[in-house]
Symmetry: C2
Subunit: 138 residues, 2 copies
DNA sequence: GGCTTGACTTGGACAAAGTCCAGGATAGGA
DNA sequence: TCCTATCCTGGACTTTGTCCAAGTCAAGCC
């Protein structure tokens, strides 16, 4: 965790209380929070932190590659701190719960040149959808 | 195309000018439009059509399985009329252009039971990201 | 063709998620 | 300690989408 702060400092980040709090929130559990949830948790640690700052900080973490933006089909983007180990997502269509998964195989290799239309393909995102055990019970 | 209207009538749809226009817009080019773009094109054919109706109609088409909702990481959902042939998407990270693609392999089979966490998995969505030839030039 | 009726549409208000900005605060170097 | 570029704040604004009461109209029935 403080690795993260170190890395960021190394990249010229000015270390403010607000940024530290946002980083802590993300590193806390290994979860997939929305920006608003991050804000709510950050406020618990630093009451005056503003929404704008949370959005800015998340945006910076994403563009530095420290955090992934996940857009399931829910309304809000979610932020995934597990950026350094490639993985995909399994989403419950009912409650929106998200789990990280590691499928076998390499989807990148499954897209032949003839299907690339001249694009320079750099990334694949695989989202499995289904119903989680909890929702299946109900 | 009029197949679609036929199918919908068969399912008890009341055939209104508005619904016809929305269906025509989607069937026009084979594109991936946002709700607002659909609305804009619909207005060109039927000036009084309201946003609410476009949203309603798109929602109905989706739940009837005639149209797919695609959430790339862009802000707005897009609507894909190509619902009857399974396919995935290739998205330009710069301009947002979307192409339908047909990878080889079966990503569904690549998720072992041990990685399903008790979920009943019913669907996979694969999104390739990259840069399209147009944006690569610029 | 003319009624009837329940489904459809409308426009505007509302909500959620996110962006932008001017002005004030502060981290970190000199 | 002081300076200054960077960062934060709060609020206004935008975009995307939903909801609702009231009016309209497609389709079946005569």
């Amino acid at each position: 965790m403080s690795d993260l702060l170190e890395r960021l400092r190394g990249r010229g980040w000015r270390m403010t209380a607000q940024r530290r709090v946002v980083a802590e929130v993300l590193a806390g559990d290994h979860v997939h929070l929305t920006a608003d949830e991050v804000h709510a948790r950050a406020v618990a640690k630093l009451p005056e932190i503003s929404r704008a700052t949370v959005y800015n900080t998340l945006g910076e973490l994403v563009s530095l590659g420290e955090v992934l933006e996940v857009s399931t089909d829910k309304r809000a983007k979610r932020y995934d701190p597990n950026a350094h180990r490639p993985h995909h997502h399994l989403v419950c269509a009912q409650c929106g719960a998200i789990r990280d998964v590691h499928p076998t195989g390499n989807p990148m290799a499954d897209l032949p040149d003839s299907e690339r239309f001249g694009f320079t393909v750099s990334d694949v995102e695989v989202t499995y959808r289904g119903v989680c055990p909890n929702c299946a019970k109900a």
